[in-house]
Amino acid sequence: MCLAIPVKVIRLKEGSMATVDAGGVQTDISVALVSDVTVGEYVIVHVGFALSRLDPDEAEKTLKILAQGGIDGLPA
């Protein structure tokens, strides 16, 4: 419900923090809520915290559906 955007984890830091990159902008966020995240993964960030992972395979599936205007196949 809240402003949350996908960012890529580029470095893990101590104290459950991580440096993330979003389209060339780098900033530090807390990964206390997704503690097993690894470098290279994408997470959704809200008020300075990673809330959950983004699954690239599911993203691809959704994009395929969108590309043909939702005509066939819908996400599970």
Partner: protein, 336 residues
């Protein structure tokens, strides 16, 4: 100079003031009119009508990626003069310094102003210096006034927009506002994001020479493109329609806006301009802008329409329409 901090004596008008002004400002700005050391500057102006503009600068932080308060005080006023289609001729600079401000910082600021003025070919010919007690200022406030000359026959004014006219921007939007905000929030950018502050009078010179039918020019500083367009719409009594997909914006600025929940259309620009011209001249104007280093990312972004409500609207990426509201104050970052 024995001390390296500004003291109240530096503003008293006595020897301490003279020493400071000589050591810092005269040394940096160094031009014939100034060097006469009068309280005023005598200038020879080319023929034409005179344009005068002034700006006060209270920015924090004083030093930021891509510039400082000094740079802005020169480019901002040169641009205000240039937006009338005028050739800027000279600047004045008044300083209000806070007691305790480091003289080293003042020298850095003066050096920035000197560099910017020299490159622009616009000397700082007169000025003033005052000092206020500690706690009454923010380090330094700078007020600059600029004068310029507009050739006969050229009339640029925000009330001249007509339905059918086209709207152009000279480059990427939101750079300055985001560079400062991100600097304050500790975000870093790759590639680094610098303020776009620059003097635009040479670009303007080429534009008005090639397309004298230009209706108006404006540099969208505080309040961004959104505020500038709403002002024009009200001044001219028209509506403005822009297309989201034609707005030039750096990926890093776009991403930072997404992260912070801000709209780039309201972020400040200090080295960009908006232009309105008749539709038949739009392509030619765009070509002129793009062939100049300061206009490489120029684009036609919209048009003027009839609209009794004087609204500014955006055709969104999705093909829908939304209002570009006349923002009241500063944007607040969205979290929700």
């Amino acid at each position: 100079m024995k001390t390296r901090l500004i003291e109240l004596a530096h503003g008293s008008g006595g020897k301490a003031t003279d020493d400071l002004v000589t050591e810092v400002f005269f040394r940096a700005f160094n031009n014939p009119a100034l060097n006469r050391k009068n309280d005023q500057a005598l200038l020879d102006l080319p023929p034409g009508r005179i344009v005068m503009a002034c700006d006060s600068h209270v920015i924090t932080p004083l030093f930021f990626p891509g510039g400082d308060i000094g740079t802005l005080s020169v480019t901002g006023t040169i641009n205000d003069v240039a937006m009338a289609g005028a050739v800027p001729v000279a600047l004045s600079a008044a300083f209000i310094l806070e007691e305790g401000f480091p003289v080293d910082d003042l020298e850095r600021i003066a050096a920035s102003m000197a560099r910017e003025a020299r490159e622009a070919g616009v000397p700082i010919v007169t000025g003033d210096t005052k000092v206020v007690e500690k706690g009454s200022g923010d380090g330094v406030f700078i007020s600059t006034t600029g004068i310029g000359v507009v050739p006969e026959g050229l009339v640029l004014s925000g009330d001249r927009c007509r339905p059918g006219d086209r709207l152009l921007v000279s480059g990427t939007i939101g750079d300055h506002g985001m560079a400062l905000l991100a600097f304050r929030e500790g975000m870093s950018f790759d590639p680094p994001l610098l303020s776009d502050c620059q003097s635009l009078h040479q670009l303007v010179g080429r534009m008005v020479e090639g397309v004298p039918s230009i209706r108006c020019l404006r540099d969208p500083t505080r309040g961004g493109v959104g505020a500038a367009l709403n002002e024009w719409a009200a001044q001219s009594g028209v509506g403005i329609r822009i297309r989201e997909e034609s707005l030039p914006i750096r990926e890093t600025v776009f991403s930072a806006c997404e992260l912070l929940g801000l709209d780039p259309l309201y972020m400040a620009n200090e080295g960009k301009l908006l232009a309105v011209c008749p539709p038949e001249d739009a392509e030619r104007l765009l070509e002129i802008m793009k062939s100049h280093p300061q206009g490489q990312n120029a684009a036609i972004i919209g048009e003027i329409v009839e609209d009794r409500g004087h609204f500014v609207e955006v055709e969104t990426l999705m093909g829908g329409t939304r209002l570009l509201h006349w923002i009241h104050g500063d944007q607040l970052p969205r979290i929700c």
